[in-house]
Structures are given as structure tokens and as C-alpha cells.
Symmetry: C7
Subunit: 263 residues, 7 copies
């Protein structure tokens, strides 16, 4: 095979200036079950597909709370994701202890990216095989980041990773301009629709997805299955009508334009 | 062989984003003799097949007590399993010493998974070649986890690992909805039947299996051979009747719905 | 392939006295999106092309502020660039703390080059895959350096790196003699035209480029998108006239010949 | 050869979930000269074949005293066996010093197994190439263990390892049910017969075998050559009679059913 | 290729007793742009060819001041040369601090050579890819050394290294007997002619060469471009006359036979 | 070659359970010039063939004094042998310092064997390439051991190692039963005859052999060349008579049955 | 090539018990320019051929003073030789500091040999590629040793190493019996003739050889070129006479039989 000498060691450059082992690790993210994230000005919603290994097992956790103001959704090697989540949790705790203030999301994401970068430059380690959607709220508002095995990170309005995430991305690209002013409920509904897109016709039920939200006045939490199921039912009802108009409703008297970080 | 350059080092990703060495280690679990676990709301039962290496030897221990409220059953490399069991034991002792309370099962399982994950990311080590069914009781009730060489773990209602475990899984899938309210005795009987399924027609005797239980009011213990043999006899008697109805009997006046963790 | 035994390890010399792995890492710089830098006697402008990974994401940061008097633009592996930027930031902070004076740009650049050189002489690491244009102002005036993965650095009047940078370099070579006396505004305009050259006919908009400036009286800062867009519009208006003469205008009453380092 | 890529490094799993290097080390045990062990309720006898390298040399020691209550017989690499024996000796001394009580045999065996396991999980070491029969007496009675290069251990009623040990095992399997109540003398005689089985027609003399015993009232010691020769003569005399009945005789007024560990 | 097994690791000897990797590193010196050095009894001149990477860049520094009494010119990997120059600088500073006297040139050269030798005997490093001409003055007079990647050093009356240095060496060999009594100006002129020889017909201008001198009464310094250009003009004028006689002139009242080291 | 994948690394087992690198190191012993050792009840004699590298050189030392009561003769890599001899010397000195008594020979030999064993279990070392005949006297009498590169050791009545040692061994096997009661002089003579056997017809002279003795009343010392030559002459005179009877003579009034260790 | 798997790593034994990498390093000694040494009872002379790399350079130093009573001449890798010489120098200084007496030559040589041996037993180093002739005087008289890359050393009456040393050795073998009583002058003359033999017809001049001497009343020093040239002239004059008789003359009233070590 023509590329056999440059793609087995993470410290070996190919003649074209590529690090194949890093690219292969990014492939592992594409194999994981899908995760999506969406952001309004005040809230971020995360959603993942949870496929249980068997009918006997609960599904693997794919959404992790990091702190009151941050959480992650992962796609790829779950074990790597869990280890990185705990690293994030420690960083938040330590920052809070020293500064008595939550760690800004952007700085947390950089630390995570640096940890990943180190693994792309040591011959006796391997790049992490997991992508993380980091959702958080800080003084500069709500944020959604994607951290990649290569040590890169990107800020997104909305994003989807994992297997068959292309369908979700297409949906999100069509809709993302409306997200900025969405209510949390609307974000969650869009997250559910995006997740539905990755299922390729499979029925979406509350048991095969996890949805979490963080935002102004709402610490990061996973939404209970019953609420999700009700939302799914609403979505499906609407979809059955030939064309459905979405109306953005400010709910609970909360104003999405309000200043962030008042958890 | 076409895949020869990506599958000899645990830190090498394949172009498709897989870690072959981790997958091969998981294969080692499938080679081990079978282990099953079942969980009711208050109890967990573990059972393993014990094949003695020869008529002269006792069988290898496949069930390990970790603490009063936790125990494990293993399939795969017994030496790796033993080393990991001792790690679990130390974690429990240390936690107990510091907090004067038993270590919650879920946290124990995460530490075990993290230890396994490290071995999938260092070029001079190898992934552990053992799968562990962790059974435990804590304030949130009875739990059954499966820890995998990849550093993943899953919570199960019931599960079977090791060679020919598919037959046991099929049985458990058919029956698992009833387990939640089972008495300990019923759990053990179902464990024995599941073990029987893996034997492919071989006769089940108390000498070739080990059964352990942990639950409300019952510290983790291995059930003595005589009791097991009596249960096996009962099972076989019932099986001989053309169709047997199972009745759930609350025994010993213990109520399976009672609050857990009163060992 | 004839060169297969000398090009997989950074500590292996080829018979012709070359280090192929270092050359391959330099290839990674050519794959990154373009970055340009220009220097007058008192100011340095940096500009980068920002291609967002998708319509949903913000683009990756390619320009980093290091200190009030220094900043960098990168091309190549963004993660490596970010890690090196933080190294630069630490060096500046430490120097400032000890000497209560900003770290001269030339010395900062040498430290960066030394850090890169180490990675070309250890078998268990890899050369960094990123090129950095370092723009700074110190007592000896404004400076523009290019730091290369090989551990070399060069001082430039103007330079372009990254994909399709050849077109920008051609433009800069034609124009560079005029830069020395340019006003900051003129520098930025030339930077924008150079960036435009790398786009191969694509339209230049303020959303796909980042421009930063540092100079006398101007701490390093990224110029806001609106200002950039206005400049782009001016450039395009002028270009539409058959031949356009550029006039160097001293703006804002600032004299570019003034003594540097009065930020 | 089809299996050439998975069998040269102890940290490499084969696709079928095997560690070939560990299996090859176990092969080294089969190449060593034979060792047998037998256990009654109160005593354990060990016996080894001692083939001197030449008529000029004494034979290599294959039986090692570890403590008053424990000893080992080895098959495989003698140097590895000697190093492990000293490790056992140190463990016993340290335990005795701290707790003023002999180290229980089962715990000693686990420590030995753990030491062996470590060598199956480090790329810069090799698994030990020796099998150890550990004979000991503690408060729970007499014990015979077999420790294997894989880090596994097994408790046995009687066992034989090393070259041509199959013949000895066949003999022991036919006879082992009687061992539990045997007197020490009977155990030794059976050990001698088992050793004889491995010689394939070669004459058994006291000079080519070492026999040791440990039990109630008898610290671990190697039996002197003269006693062994007398026993061999007795065995051969009996064998010459067409069919010989073995009678279990309680000798020296010692009762094999007595409580153990009164050395 | 027949020599493929001995030339990829610096710690591997070839059957003929050669270290190919060291020889390959020496090849890197030949690839660098040329450097020459000449020595009179009281002065040493260094000169290098400076080819700028582009018209936009300044050239890379190839001459480094180490201390008032020592300087180096390099050919080969500039990054390696820079790192070694700083090492030299530190050695001089430390010696000066401890002994309050400049470090003799010969001892400095040995330390440099030892640092290079270490890199030829460690498998995880590579030999330095740079040659250094070390010019210095101490109590024993003016010295010119050549330090090679192999860890060897040689004292020279005059020497040239780098690409096309053979032509310069031919010139120097024809002339070197006159150097001992040359004035500094004469040395510099010869250095310029030697540099000219390496240019293969290209015109020598002050912008493509750097010249430095150290000697009695003259701390190591790089000669300013204007002076160099004037000298080049004189040389070219003389060359145009059919045969030119060189007259050694004592200039500035300085006597080249005077005792050295009075900087 | 069929065995090419298991025989280049000392930590790699062959499928048949062999460590080829250890066996190859033992081959190095066979390449060294011959060494013999013989033991009576009270004395041990060592003898080696000393082939000088040229007529100009003295021969290499092959017999080393370790302590007053111990010495060694080596065959194989002399440098390895010298290093191990010094290790032995240190062990003796340390023991003597701590316990004020000479280190028993058997314990010394075990330490040496353990040092050799370590080198058979580390991938970054190699087994020692030397065999040692250790001759010593302690409270349990005179001892002769052979230490092998594999980490094994054997006690011998008499032994020969090195090139063409088979002839010497044949002689020793024919004669060894008489050695136990030999006088030191007789031992030396037998050593000389054994050495003569390895010379394949070459003439034995005192200049090509070294003989040493240790025993009751005789600290370890190398016997002077003149005495050796006289003994050689006697041997040859006797050999010329058609059949020679050896008479054991107690010389110097010393009784070989006397208690040992009264040096 | 049939021997390709055992000759690239110094820790790999060949099946025949050889360490090819050590042998290849010894080959490097043969490639170096020649060095000879000769010893009388009271003096040792060393001589080397010095081939300057070019007419411009001084030759590389091949003779190093270690202490007043010891010096070395090297053949092979000069850098390795220089590093080892400094090691020797340190050993002498340290010994002198502690014991206030010069380090005996034999002990110095053993330390050097041990340092070389270590490099033949570590996979990440390489054997030194240099042979050293060590000349010294101590209380036991004058000594000449040859230290080899293998970690061996030999004492010689006279020896020659390096390229074309065979001719010198032939001369020395013919003459060596006379050396013991030679005057220092005679030794030097014989050294010069031996050096001449290695030149294969080239003319011997004082500029291409270095000669040093150490002995009773003469600290180690290199003999000045003029004296050497006069001796060369004498030798050549004598050689021109058809047959020349050498007369041993005691010069300067010094008696070569005098007790050594009175420097």
C-alpha cells in the first residue's frame, strides 16, 4: 500500500505535510453515534443518540455535566470522552476554588484543546478518538464549541458530529439563522428534529436520545425523558400537517435577550 | 494480510478510526468461560462457569468479593481480572477510611474504567484482556455494570459475557422484565438457568458453577455449593414438567421494594 | 519508493544531508490558509484568510495577540500554532515581570525558534507543523519575522505564507519598497490586496479575513470587521478605474518617521 | 509464517484475543525436567527429576525452601525460578517480621502471581519462563498450588509439570482420591511413582530425584537420599509382585486428621 | 540498496567501521552557503555568503558574536548553529564570571566538540547538521578552528566550508603563507576574494556577504556594509589590472607582531 | 531463515519456549579459550589457556582473584568477565565489612547468577557473554561452580569450558573420582593435563597457561610460571613411560581431610 | 545479506556468539591513521602519524597527555578518543586529590576498559570507535597498554594500531627483545622507524608525526619537532649504509635499570 510508511506513528509527517494518525483519530469521531448542539443568544441545547448495546443494558452516557454553566456531548470513543470530561470538571473546580468565579467557557475549551494537542506530538501516546461539543454560558453569553482530536476547536452556532451527522448539519444550516432568538424550548425542539434527521427513518423516541440544556437562569441539566417524549409528540404532530410554520414564543416570561450568566 | 500495519500497537489508529488492539483484547473476553449477572431492585446475582483445568485441580476463582456491598465476576484473562479486583478492593478500603461510608458502585466502576482506558493509550502497555461484571448495592439501589477492556462501562439489568454467552443473553432478554421484582432466590435460579444455556447440553452441577449475591440485608457472598445443587435440582424438576409457570414468591419476609443499602 | 528509509524519523539524516521530516513539516505550512505581513518603519500589519469549516461555525482564529507590542499570524496546524502562541505570551509576561519592560521582538523570536529546533532533534517528538509571522514593535522599530518549523527565522519587509501565497508574494515583491514610509492605513490596504491575490478570483469580504496592526501609538489589535469592509470597498472602487495611482497619505496627524515604541 | 506479527511482543494481542508470548513462555515450562506435587489433608510432598548436566556436576537445584511452612518445586528456566523463590522468601520474612506469624500460603501465591502478571503487560520485559509448584501448610491446612508464567495460579490435590509430565498426571488422576488421607510416607511414595512415570523406562534412583515434604509437625525439608533410595527399593519390590495392594498406614502415631499448622 | 541497514541510526556501525549518520550530517554542512576564515598572527577574519530567502527578507544571520574575543561563522542548518552559538556564549559568560578572565579559545572549542560528540552516541538524538568556524584571540594569539558535526575540530591558518567552498580553499592554499603577517585589512580583503571564488561568476556585493574580525585591539565585530563595499570596489579595480602585486601595509600604526590579547 | 523473528531480542520467546539470545550468548563462552577447574575435598585448582594476541603482547588475564578464599577463571568475552569479577570482589568486601567473615562461596555464586539473570529479562541490555568457573573455600569445604550467561549455576567436581573443552571434559570424567582426596599438587597436575587436552597437539608450556589454587591453608593465588613449567616437565616425563601409575602423595605434612577454612 | 539481522544492534548476539557491532567498531580503529608504542624497562615512547586534513590546517591531535606519568595515543574516531582522554585525566586528578599519589597505570587502564564495556551492553549507545595506546610509568615500572572498543585491554612490549599498522608490527616483532634495555633515544628512533614502515614509501618528516615519551625522570611530554627531524635525518643516514648495526648507548648518564617512578 502506497501510504504505509507515514501513517502508523503520530510523530511522522507525510511528504505532503499531513499527520495521518491524527486524521484517523478524527475518523473515530465519525463512527460514534450522533451528537448535535444549538445555540441561542442565552441558551445552548445538546442532544445525542443513545443506542443501548443490547435490550438488557442502559445506553452509554454521551452527555456529561461539567459544571453548573458547562456541559459536553461526545461522539467517538466513550472512554476517551469520559476521561476528558473529568479533566474539564477538575479544571472548573480548581478555577472556582481559586477565583471564586466560574471558568469562562472559551478558556476551558482551550485547555481541552491543548490536552488533545499534546497527544498529537508524542510517539508513545495516541490522539484522543473523541469529538466533544462543549455547551456553556458565561459573561459573554452562551457558547457552543466543537473540540476535535487534532487539538483544534471551533465555535459554532449549531453543529452535529458522529455517524450520519451530515443530515443533521443540512437541517441546521437551513435553520440556524433563526436560532439566535429562539427560546430554550424551540432550541430543544430543533435539536430533536436534527437528531431525527440522523436516524434515517428510524422512529425518534425519548428512550434513544438524551437532551440537555444550559442557559440564563438554567444550570446545565439533562431534560427528563417525559418532557422529551411530549416534545417529540408535538413535533410529529406538526410534521404531519402539510406545512408547518414555526412561531417563536417567549415562554415563562424569560427574555432571551436578557444579560447572560445569571444562573 | 491487508491489515497488518495498524493492528500490532495499541496507540495506532486504523484509517477507519479503529483501535484494533483494543478490539483484539475484547476478543479475549469472549474466549473466557461464561459469566452472567442479574439485577432486581434490591439484589444482584452473579454466576460463572468454573471449568477446572484438570480433575486434579480446583477451578480458578472467577468471582471476587470487593467489599461488603460489591463483588465482581470475570471472563477473560484471570490474572488481569485478579489484579483489577485488588485495585477495586483498595479503592473501597481507601474510600471507607476517608469518608466512613461505602464507595458508591457507580463511582467505583468509573475508576475501574479509567484504569482500563489508560492501557489503551500507552504504547508500552497492553489493554487488559478481561471483562468484569460488577454487582453492587448502594444508596441508589442495586446495580449491575459491565466493564470492558476498552475502558467503557455499561449498566445492565442482566448480562452475560464469555464463551457461548449468546445463549444466556437470549434467555435473559426474554425474561429480564420480570427481574426487577424478583426475590434473591428467583434471581439465583434465573442465573443458574442462564449459565445452563451456555453449557450447550452439558449437565449443570454445583461443582462447575459459582453463584454470588449481594443485596439489601445481604452482604456480598458466594453461595455454598449445597444450596446451589438443591436449586439446580429444583430447576431440572420443573423443566421436566411440560410447561412451567414461574411464581414470584417473596421469601423470608423480606420485601424487595424496601429501601436499599441496609446491609 | 527510493526514499523510504530516511524520511520517517526526524533524527535520521538522508545521505544528501537532509532531514526529510523537517521538510515535510514545512509542507504543512503550505497547506494552511494564507497569512501575510507587511512592515513600515513604525507599523506592522498582519492579515489572514479565515475559511470557516462550515456555514455554522465561526472561523478558526489565525491571529493571536501575544502582548501589547507583539502579535502573530499563523499558517499550518492551528493547534500547534495556538500552543506556540501561548508559549510566546508566557515569555512576554515573565520578561515584563522581571525587567518591567517589554521583551524585544528579536529575542522573543529566537526563543520561539529554539523551541522549534528542539523538536527537530528528538526521536519521540515531531517538528511543529506551523509557520508564524511575528509582528512587533520595540525600541529598534517595527519588525516582521517568519518562524519556520525547522527552527529558522527570517526578518522580512513583507511576507506571505500558506496556500497560494505565491501570488501574494509576487504582489509584495513588486510593491515592498514603498512600504517603509506607508501609513498604517496604507499597510492594511496592501495587506488586503495581498490577501485578495491568494483567493484566486474569489471575492474578498471582511468576513473571510482578519487584519491586525501593531505600531507606534497602536498596541497590537485586530481591526474590526466594518473598517475592513470599508477598506475593501475602497480598494475595489480604485481597482475598477483602469490604472490607479496610490498616494501615500499621512493620516491622523501621526508621523510614520517618529521614534518607535511609544505605545 | 502466518502468525508472525502478533507473537514477538508480549503487549500485542492477536486478532483472536491471545497473547502468544505468554503462551510461548508456558511452553518453556514444558521443556523443563518434571516436577510433581501431592497433597494429603496435613502434608504436601514435592518431587523433581534432577538431571545433572554432566557426570562431573551436581544437578541444579529444583526444590527451594521458602520458609518453615512453604517450599517450591520448579520446572522451566531455573534462573527465573531461583529469582522468584528469593522473592517468596523475602515476602515470608517481611510478613513474619511485621505480623509475627507465617504468611498464609494462599496470599503468598497471589503475590507471586501478581509479580508474574506484571511481566505479561510491559513491552520491555518478558514473561517468566518457569512454573512453580508451591507446597505449604497454614491454618487452613496443607495446600498445593501451581503458579504459571501467565500470572494465573490453581490449587491442586496433585499435579505434575515439565517434560513428559502427562504420564505422571495420568497416574495422579487415577490415584488422587486416596491422597487426602495418606500418611506422609505414602505421599512420598506416590510422588516417587509419579516421577518414575515421567522417566519413560529409565531407572529411578535417589540420585536423579529430589523429594521434599512439609506438613503438620514437619517443617519444609528435603528428604535425604538414603531414605529416598530405600523407598524406591520398596516400590520396586512391590511392583515386581503381580498386583500390589496399597495399605494406608498411620505411622509414627501421627494422625493426619489432626489440626494443621503446629510445626 | 546495499547499505540500507547501517545508515539510519547514529548508534549503528557499518561493517567497515563507519558511522553513516555522522557522515550524512557532515553532508549538511556542504549544502549550506559558504563561510571562510583567515588568520594572521594577531587577527582572524570571518566571512560568509548571505543569500536572502527572497527579495523581501533580510538574510539569515550566519556570523555570531560569542564574546568580545570570540565569534563564529556557520554553514549548514542555521537553527543548529544558533543553538550552538548560544551554548558557546553561555560557556564564555560562566567562565568569565568564575575566573574573571576570558575563556581561552582552544578550551571553548573542545567544549563545543564534546557537545557534538554526545549527539553521535545517543540513539534518540541526531548529530548536529552544522559546521562552525570559530575565530578568537587569547593569550596564545589569534586562532581559527573548524568544528565538525562528528565532534572533531581542527586548527586552521585559513579555511572555507559550505557549498562551492573548494574554489575558496584553492585560493587560500595558494595564498596562506602570506597571511601570518597580514594586516587586518589585508585579511578582510583576502576573505572577500575567497568568498568571491565561491560565487561562480556571480557579482560580489556587500549585501550578499558578512565579514567580521577579531584581533589585538579589536573586539569581535561585524564590519559595516559600506566599508565592505569600498573594499570590494578596490579589489575589483585591482583585478582589472593584468597582474596585481599585493603589498602588505601596516595600517593605523598597529603592529601585527604585537603581543595579542589586549582587546 | 526460518527462525528470524524470535532470535534478535532477549525478551522474545520462541514458539518452542526458548530464548535464543540467551543461547547465543552461551555460544560466546564456547568461543573463548579453554578454562578448567578441579576440586579435592580441601582445594580447588583453576587453569586457563592464555593465548597472547601477538608475540608483542602479554596475554589477557583470564584468572581473577576475588578474595583470599575465592577466585574465578573465565571463558568468553573478557571484558564482561572482568566487570563481573569486580562485582564479585565488591560483594566480598561488603560482606566482610558488615559481618567480619568471608562471604560463603555458594551465596557469592547466587548473587552472580542473579546479576546475569537480570540481563536475560530486559530488552535494552544483552546477556553477559562469559562463563565463570568460581573456585572457593568456606566452612563447608572447597567448592567449584560454573556460572553461565543464562543466570544458571552448577556445582562441579571438575569442569572445563571454552573452545575444545570437550577433550578436557573427557579426561576429567575418566579421572574425577580420584580428585576428592588429591593433594593440591596432584590437582594442579591434573589441571595441566586437562588443559593439555584442549590444545590439540600443541605443546603445553608455562607461558600459555595460568594456574591458580585455593584451599585449606592456601589463600587464592596464581602459581608462578617456574613451578608450572617444572610440573609440565614432570608430566611429560611420565607420559613418555608407556604406562604411568599415579600415586597420591600427601605433601608438606598437610592432611587433605582436615577441616577446611583455616586460611 | 545473510547476516543482516544480528549486526545492527550492539545488544544482539549472533547465533555463533558474536557481537557484530563491537567488531565493526574495532574496524573503525583500523581506519584511523597509525599509532605505535614501545616500552623499555624505564620508558615508553608513543608515536602517531598526523595527516593534516589539508595544507591549511594543523593536524588533529592524536597524542594526549593524561597526567605527568601517563599519556595516550589514539587511532580511530578522534572525537571519541578526546572524550575518553578527558575521562582519564579526571580519574588521575581525582585519585591524586584523594590519595596524594599518582594513579597506577594498570588501574587507570581498567577504568577505561570498564567505560568501554558499558557501551557494548546498552541498546541506546554505541561502542566507542577508538583504540588507545596508554603509556605510563608507576611504581611497578613503565607500561604500555592497548585499550580496545570491546572493553578489553592488553599489555604490550610494543604495539602498533591503525591503518597499515601491520608493517610496523612486523618491524616491532623483529626488534622487540632489544627494547627492554633501550635508552629513551633508542626507543624514539625505533618508534620513528616503525612509523616509517606504515607510510608505504612516503617520506617521513617531523611534520607528519608526533612522538611523546614518559619514563623515569621524564614526565610525559611531546618531543619538539626539531629534535624529531634530527633523529629522522640520523635514521635515514644510517639506512643508506648497506647494513647498520645499532649500538645501545646509555645517554645523559641516566641508567635505564634504575628504579622507576622518580619523575
Amino acid at each position: 500500500m502506497f501510504r504505509n510508511q507515514y501513517d502508523t506513528d503520530v510523530t511522522t509527517w507525510s511528504p505532503a505535510g499531513r499527520l495521518f494518525q491524527v486524521e484517523y483519530a478524527m475518523e473515530a469521531v465519525k463512527q460514534g453515534s450522533a451528537a448535535v448542539g444549538l445555540r441561542s443568544r442565552t441558551h445552548v441545547a445538546l442532544a445525542t443518540v443513545n443506542k443501548a448495546a443490547s435490550t438488557l443494558s442502559s445506553h452509554q452516557r454521551k452527555v456529561f455535566k461539567v459544571d453548573d454553566h458547562v456541559g459536553v456531548a461526545i461522539a467517538g470513543l466513550t472512554a476517551d470522552g469520559r476521561v476528558l470530561s473529568r479533566y474539564l470538571r477538575n479544571e472548573c473546580i480548581n478555577h472556582n476554588f481559586v477565583y471564586e468565579a466560574p471558568l469562562p467557557v472559551g478558556r476551558l475549551v482551550v485547555r481541552l484543546a491543548d490536552k488533545a494537542q499534546v497527544c498529537t506530538q508524542r510517539s508513545w501516546k495516541r490522539p484522543y478518538g473523541v469529538g466533544l461539543l462543549v455547551a456553556g454560558l458565561d459573561e459573554s453569553g452562551a457558547h457552543l464549541y466543537y473540540n476535535c482530536p487534532s487539538g483544534n476547536y471551533f465555535e459554532y452556532q449549531a453543529f452535529a458530529i458522529g455517524s450520519r451527522s451530515q443530515a443533521a448539519k443540512t437541517y441546521l444550516e437551513r435553520r440556524f439563522e433563526a436560532f439566535d432568538k429562539c427560546s430554550p424550548e424551540e432550541l430543544i425542539k430543533d435539536a430533536l428534529i436534527a437528531i431525527k434527521e440522523t436516524l434515517q427513518g428510524e422512529t425518534l423516541t425519548s428512550s434513544i436520545c438524551t437532551v440537555a440544556i444550559v442557559g440564563v437562569g438554567e444550570p446545565f441539566h439533562i431534560i427528563d425523558q417525559q418532557t422529551i417524549q411530549e416534545m417529540i409528540d408535538t413535533i410529529e404532530a406538526r410534521e404531519e400537517s402539510p406545512y408547518y410554520e414555526r412561531t417563536i414564543e417567549i415562554q415563562d416570561g424569560r427574555n432571551p435577550d436578557a444579560a447572560p450568566m445569571e444562573i
